[in-house]
Amino acid sequence: MGRVFISLYTALLVVFGLAPALYALVLAFTDEAGFAGFDNFIGIFNDYRFWPAVTNVASFLALWLVVQTVFVVLLALIVHQISVRWIGAVARFVYYIPGAFAGAASVMVWLFLLDPAVSPVSGLLTSMGFDSFVQTVEQGNLPWIFMIIAFWTGAGQWIVIMYGALNGINPEVIEAARVDGAGIFHTAVKVQIPLLKKWIAYMAVMCLAAGAQLFVEPRVLSQASKGVVPEDYSLNQLVYLYAFRQGDYHGSAALSIMLLVVSLLLASVFVFKGGLFDRD
């Protein structure tokens, strides 16, 4: 009887989950002539665009993970401290609202913010020596820019989730720490943050998976800067170029698979280090 209930979902799972995953594997290990072993992968390793793209994505990810972890935890702790209910709710909503812009719209918003000609923070930009949009988006700044955009859109959701987790901590535990003379700072470091460990690991996993797929941000900046930001900046942009510029679906699939495997491997580090699957 359960079969009827799961039939439509199972069909979707097979067609859009399992089949594409298998198909990608087949494509990655074959070429027009048949089985190709690791040839497609070797071809990608030797592509002059590959390693720079790896470096670009990796530096963005490293920067983002650190900033995201530090400030999401800090802001969740702060919001949790606010004792007036409605102020807390307003603060959480304010932090959350840029999430509505996730994707292309957030990059469009930041195009304006990064252009000293119209930016509300043009004073800040010029004081850092950026007098035009093209100067702001020079290569060295890009990991920072992508980190800021990703944090702007994504932080709020995690602040709310961490806040929910903090509410789940038994207030007596915190009260006991306070009675023992622990201040806000010590309570946070000794009691609250250790209890958030799982959630932090979970956030890291989700951010790694999403961040490794960087595409729309460099693509839009590339369109807007007339190629000052290269169109092969990130790995997913290479996936796109392989498939549609070079017509090399096999190379494209191999690159997708590599990206997937690496991000799953990195994610599993956080899963095990963070004890994500441990029972409480």
Partner: protein, 310 residues
């Protein structure tokens, strides 16, 4: 109000009362917290405030005036008309496309995932554990990773360029099934269903008359995540459709080609000015912003945490 809620409140009230006798160190911490909270509130809000004001100004005003000056209603109307006229109202067409893609997917997602999550939680059937495990694993695969093979599948089926090539992949939403599964396993007991079964209700009747009336919160939750994610998805429709079939998220980035400030060499005679582009950006997320405003209570409650907990 639950016992925990009350306990949280009293614990906080105590904390507040004691604040009056805090030493200088605690006060410094509090001032530091306040400063950080305000700094980030500005960081999150200033871009949105700017975006709300920009369409009320002309390009010239935007370049020369204070960034937070308020323009006029007439200018807003003029910008709106100029945006509507751009390529014969292509912005409205693309918003319509987005609504079709995200809305169509929303319906299929709900029809597929609510019964599936229900069955996984409350019915014993062969392959249940396998389906659950597969769902969890597939949930970890970022949706951009499989876009190329899905594109090739769609191309083999002759569906590339049609609305189905976007709607169908959008409808596969394992996270929704997982949320429904968690919801039903924690809120509906098997005993309740068995009681209905003993009363002679068939499986469909049990689902429809017992489970569905209880499912409203999870339908809203799955609907919310599906809609927001699909409306803002860029990568998949960018592969699948072209030209006038683009959803609005792709459309606004295509408009950049006609913005002289970003593209000085553009030979096109059609020109999109900054305020018009800002208005297009704002319109492109308006439906999601509205959904956010209406779901504001559950968004800030931290309730989502319960749903995400494995």
């Amino acid at each position: 109000m639950t016992a925990t809620d009350t306990a949280v409140r009293s614990a906080r009230a105590n904390g507040w009362a004691r604040a009056k006798q805090l030493g200088p160190r605690e006060w410094l911490t509090r001032i530091f917290f306040l400063a950080v909270a305000i700094f980030f509130a500005l960081f999150f809000l200033v871009p949105i405030a700017w975006l709300l004001l920009a369409p009320t100004k002309t390009q010239r005003e935007l370049l020369l005036e204070d960034p937070f000056s308020v323009g006029t209603w007439d200018t807003l109307v003029a910008n709106f008309e100029s945006l509507s006229a751009y390529q014969n109202g292509i912005i409205w067409e693309s918003i319509g496309n987005s609504a079709l893609y995200a809305g169509g997917a929303l319906i299929i997602t709900l029809v597929a995932s609510i019964p599936a999550g229900y069955a996984l939680a409350l019915i014993d059937f062969k392959g249940r554990a396998l389906l659950l495990t597969t769902t969890l694993v597939v949930m970890l695969i970022p949706n951009t990773a499989l876009v190329l093979p899905v594109f090739l599948e769609m191309s083999a089926l002759g569906l590339v360029g049609t609305a189905w090539s976007v709607i169908l992949p959008f409808s596969f939403f394992p996270f929704g099934v997982y949320l429904t599964y968690i919801y039903f396993s924690t809120t509906v007991s098997k005993d309740l269903l068995n009681a209905a079964r003993i009363d002679g209700a068939g499986e469909f009747k049990v689902f429809w008359l017992v489970a569905m009336p209880l499912a409203k919160p999870v339908i809203a939750l799955v609907g919310f995540f599906s809609l927001v994610q699909n409306w803002n998805n860029y990568f998949l429709p960018f592969f699948m459709v072209n030209g006038r079939d683009y959803p609005v998220q792709v459309r606004i980035t295509e408009m950049l080609a006609n913005v002289p400030a970003f593209n000085p060499t553009s030979s096109s005679s059609v020109v999109v000015e900054f305020p018009v582009l800002a208005l297009a950006t704002l319109l492109s997320v308006t439906p999601v912003l509205l959904v956010f405003l209406f779901s504001q209570r559950f968004l800030v409650s931290g309730m989502t945490a319960g749903g995400l907990k494995g």
